[in-house]
Amino acid sequence: MSRTATHETVAPAVRTEGLTVRYGAFQALSDVTVSLPPGQISGLIGPNGAGKTTLLNAISGFTSIAEGSVHVGHADLTALDARRRALAGVVRGFQTVRLLDRESVLTNVLIGTERLPQPSALAQFFGLPSQWRAVRRDAAAAAEVLDLLGLTRQAHRRVDELPFASRRLVEVARVLVSSPSVILLDEPAAGLDQEGRQELASVLTRVHHNHPSTMVVVEHDVDLVKSLCSYVIALDSGAFLRDGTPAEVFGDRQVQLAYFGRAAGADA
């Protein structure tokens, strides 16, 4: 029961202020101010081109911001590059799965331990004792996350031999292995079948219980968002539309118009 307390202290709030991102003349995000509640799983929804991925890119440092700022907890991360933000605890997955295709599942997951304090390059190269301690620690972390995602049996398979759904899971495992405090997942359920989606949702929920974090999931599937997220942010055409509990946001007429092209109420 003491977990609820740690939720609040470990997982920071993520806040963007007046975030504007431009690609040439095209404004991908305009003046987006959102606040992600700490220690909760938030859904990021909106039609194609709404700017969901761009918002994730902006928070994780993968796109340059024209105006505005990104805050995690009390820290202003705006000036940090993607790597430093990752080290600060903001780790993301990609919409297009990006793996080391010719390597094993285990290698792909272990690369995610970069955030944990690693021995110097020389210590690693020459296999000094600090290296062996790191190896044991990383192997334990990887074993835990592989077990959690049901990938233990595939640990030594090459990832390019795996079905797409498993590859997705490997990427999620890479994100989770270092227990980051802010987790950004870009359509982690895309390409999975109904069963896979449900399973992913329950895994993410379980992970979230074990390692409290502020999690953001871009997702199209309304049911999945409802079952997974306790908070939802809707974007449309690069602008903030609505936020609140899933019920509030999905019940909003504007959201329904933007998302479904019609208001659900008009149908009913």
Binding site: F62, F94, D101, D186
Partner: protein, 291 residues
């Protein structure tokens, strides 16, 4: 002042050759997103076989040059068709490795077919000189600069003032979208490789006429053209070409001030310093697609 003028003329002429050669690299890179390491050897094929045909087999020089240029076009197009297009997606940098093999192959084959020695080439006006304001200029210098300016301006107009140019730029921007808009991307791509073959032949023949011809002589030119492209950016047009000319002048000045052997270290120093000082954003040419 006369000395300096002479240096400038020499530098601008060499720089023009770098620029013209770089033009061939640029059009291929922009449309195909690949680097052909064997590009210098494509030019070498043209000049070396032209020399072989006219001097060993008595062909008239213009005919020999024509055959050489044709060979360059065929070989360059074949490199694209047989190798570059077959590179599986998601293996960036493989273009360099594969064309490195072709570089080695062409060099060895030409050495085997002709020989490994250096030979004097037809002078193409390198020995008819005139003095202009205290500076000696050869007819060959004039041909080099004139051809370079004509071809580069021609290429610029073609790219920016014609519908063919629009299609080309569209393919360079995004081949998929261009294809969807009805541009025959494959044909255009082949055309750029063929055109680059002609350019390589022209440069190689001009260089041979000023120096001599063998199986290796184009490599230093290739390196200099690549360096200029690297500093100026391979996805731009005027900037890298200007850098190429400037590189020629810089090299001549270094040789003039520091002595005949200073060219190579001066150029190396230049790239190291430029790359260390120029801001990262300015010199990044392969921006990975984000997300």
């Amino acid at each position: 002042m006369g000395d300096l003028g002479q240096i400038l003329v020499g530098g601008i002429t060499t720089g023009s050759l770098y620029a013209l050669f770089l033009l061939g690299v640029l059009i291929v890179f922009q449309v195909s997103k690949s680097i052909n390491f064997a590009y210098g050897q494509v030019g070498m094929i043209a000049a070396f076989s032209a020399w072989f045909l006219y001097s060993e087999h008595g062909l008239p020089v213009p005919l020999a040059l024509g055959v050489g240029a044709l060979l360059a076009v065929i070989v360059n197009s074949a490199i694209d068709y047989a190798a570059i297009r077959r590179i599986p997606e998601g293996r960036p940098g493989l273009d360099l490795v594969v064309t490195l093999g072709i570089f080695l192959l062409i060099t060895a084959v030409m050495q085997q077919l002709i020989d490994a020695n250096a030979h004097t080439f037809v002078s193409l006006g390198a020995d008819s000189r005139a003095e202009l304001g205290g500076v000696v200029v050869s007819l060959n210098d004039g041909i080099v600069v004139g051809l370079t300016v004509t071809i580069i301006v021609g290429a610029y107009l073609l790219l920016n003032r014609t519908s063919l140019g629009t299609s080309l730029r569209a393919s360079a921007e995004d081949a998929g979208i261009a294809q969807a808009a009805g541009v025959n991307v494959r044909a255009l791509r082949t055309a750029t490789w063929a055109a680059a073959g002609v350019i390589a032949a022209i440069v190689a023949v001009l260089v041979a006429s000023r120096l001599s011809v063998d199986a290796f002589y184009m490599t230093p030119f290739l390196i200099k053209a690549f360096i200029a492209g690297m500093i100026g950016g391979l996805d731009r047009f005027w900037l890298p070409l200007s850098v190429a000319v400037a590189l020629g002048v810089y090299e001549s000045l270094a040789v003039f001030i520091l002595g005949a052997s200073a060219g190579t270290p001066a150029v190396f120093l230049l790239i190291i310093v430029v790359l260390a000082l120029v801001p990262k954003r300015f010199v990044n040419e392969r921006n990975e697609v984000r997300a």
